[in-house]
């Protein structure tokens, strides 16, 4: 289960991650040994802050694609916590498919309340279709575990989330530093008897949902007079002898063979890399072999676009990439720009600048095969490139 942790920079993300790892015994002993020995030698108490420091350093060292991924296990299942330094990095990774969150953990400092960054992050989760959300009201120790203060911030959070159309699954008072409410209920918060953070995580729904068979063709190999169409199954399963449709043309064909590294198979399912031979030929890289519901095949889209570099401008040409599909495209129109702080929809704009979000009408030079992001993220997200650089990412809504 992949959880993205978001919230204002000082509201305690690292401390909460540290606490989750520490209290679920997910930190290998030797990682903290040197710190423990130093504390002992200098007659200092082993403070939780040192644990957080050590983990943070470890995470920074292991940071890849601008994002850190931390792993831990509850009694129920395994989790990956995705943490990006800012929303821009997170967005980039989400829309490019470098990481995929199934739920969000929004952290809010009880003393500071809802900040601009809190709003922005919550809204981005909404835009990305992350519908499961745990709100953690942190630093309860600083307000003497006051129910009144918690209720006040809870009200603020709920008010904003309602405006953006999100309903959180849980709102939990915690002190990540001291561990209250993270993996066990605290006597210091006697007025809160509901789920702890770990209970809430375990209560989230499994992300896995079945979707019809989709296999974008990545490569085509020649085998005597046959063609092997190779790619990764994005969803569903396929059997030898089944009829499939290949889009964008929609032509029908029959699966003759399924070939994998392990040899020939009778059937295969997500996420296997396979090669198939068909009773027809002439399909190209970027075509999508499908079963079941017809995918969206179009050369006009109006997705939500996140500008990641420079700007996305009307009438400009870009390269559109979605899995193995690639085509030139033109921004017909910037329909609206969304101010993620005020939620104001700004019309009459011709470009999205770096970090801005908006709805954009795009004309593609040739039809592409896509899906709604919420149905199948891999075919629901794309990137726009200019001069070899990714300037924007988008999702089909």
């Amino acid at each position: 289960m992949n959880i993205v942790i978001v919230g204002h920079v000082d509201h305690g993300k690292s401390t909460l991650i540290g606490r989750l790892l520490y209290d679920t015994d997910s930190i290998p002993e030797q990682k903290l040994d040197e710190i423990k020995q130093t504390c002992e030698a200098l007659e200092r108490k082993m403070e939780f802050a040192y644990v957080v420091d050590a983990l943070e350093e470890e995470r920074n060292r292991e940071m890849t694609i601008d994002t850190t991924q931390t792993f831990f296990r509850s009694k129920k299942r395994s989790y990956t916590i995705i943490d990006a330094p800012g929303h821009k990095e997170f967005l980039k990774n989400m829309v490019t498919g470098a990481c995929q969150a199934n739920a969000g953990l929004l952290i809010v400092d009880v003393e500071k309340g809802v900040q601009e960054q809190t709003k922005r992050h919550a809204y981005i989760l909404k835009l990305l279709g992350i519908n499961q959300l745990i709100v953690v009201i942190n630093k309860m120790d600083l307000v003497n575990f006051s129910k009144k203060k918690y209720e006040k911030v809870k009200k603020e959070v709920l008010k904003y989330l309602k405006e953006i159309g999100t309903t959180p699954n849980f709102i939990i008072p915690v002190s990540a530093y001291y561990g209250d409410g993270v993996t066990k209920n605290s006597e210091r918060i006697p007025w809160y008897k509901a789920e702890t953070v770990i209970d809430a995580l375990d209560a989230l729904k499994e992300p896995f949902k079945t979707y019809d068979f989709r296999l974008p063709i990545q490569d085509i190999y020649k085998l005597s007079n046959k063609r092997i169409y190779v790619g990764n199954i994005l969803s569903g399963m396929v059997k030898v002898g089944e009829n499939v449709k290949i889009f964008p043309s929609g032509e029908e064909a029959k699966i003759e063979q399924i070939i994998t590294f392990e040899g020939k198979m009778k059937e295969a399912e997500k996420p296997k890399a396979i090669g198939v031979t068909l009773n027809k030929q002439g399909f190209l890289r970027g075509n999508v072999i499908t079963k079941g519901k017809k995918p969206i095949v179009t050369n006009e889209i109006e997705p939500t676009v996140f500008c990641l570099l420079n700007e996305v401008k009307e009438k400009e040409q870009y390269i559109f990439r979605c899995v193995t599909q690639e085509t030139k495209c033109k921004i017909e129109r910037v329909v609206e720009k969304i101010d993620v702080n005020t939620l104001e929809k700004i019309k009459n704009t011709t470009a999205l600048k770096e970090t801005e979000v908006g709805k954009v009408k795009i004309h593609l030079n040739k039809p592409v095969v896509v899906e709604k992001f919420e149905n199948l993220p891999e075919l629901g997200r794309f990137i726009l490139e200019k001069n070899g650089e990714i300037v924007a990412g988008g999702i089909i809504t």
Binding site: D33, E34, Q37, T38, A41, L42, Y50, E57
Partner: protein, 231 residues
Amino acid sequence: MIILALDGLEYKYVKEFKCKNLMQKYCGKTDISEFSEPRTVVIWSSFLAGKNLEKEILKTKNFWEFKLNPKETFFSKFKKWKAMDVPGLTYKSEKHKKERELLKKFFNGEITIGEYDKAAFKHHKENKAEFFNAIKENYQVTMGYFALADTIGHLSFGVKPKMKIVYKELDKIAEKIGENNKLLIISDHGMKAVGRYGDHSNYGFWSTNFFADLDRPKITQFRKIIELCKG
């Protein structure tokens, strides 16, 4: 007056770890660019003498053994003074030699970092006890030297959480000295990370709890300031 001589104390870590007792009221970097290399004995001796002794010290057979006559240092201006483990003056050569040997042993794969650290912590503990006993006495100037940041830093400067604990320990020492004394905190050089290890950087650290009109002073400038503190 108290002089806290902290070998290898790095300005950037003092700031980053928010060691407010080490920063005191005024703090900054020292200029040691006049030295060809940031060598411990050379810089501390030059600090004591108020002049660059690099050439003279490097001519000696074993510069770790180099010892100044107190008459050549700012201590000559004081009647009652104490200098503990100060390189170039009262340096406990044998103990430091052992530490250097342990460092070699580590790189030869003979001992672990834990074993190397252990000796450094032990030495630090002894110096700390001696130092706090000394400041109870009525010395006009007490100079305590602590090599902890440098010794631990050589094998762990890149391990920030560990160095933070070390710096917090030194910060605690500065705090414990109290505000009743004029306090100069000084390092010979700072450090820079080389992977998890540490190498000497080309500037040092200074801080005072009194105004001394310093910006980026040379290490040799402090002699005058210390002598002026005699009042």
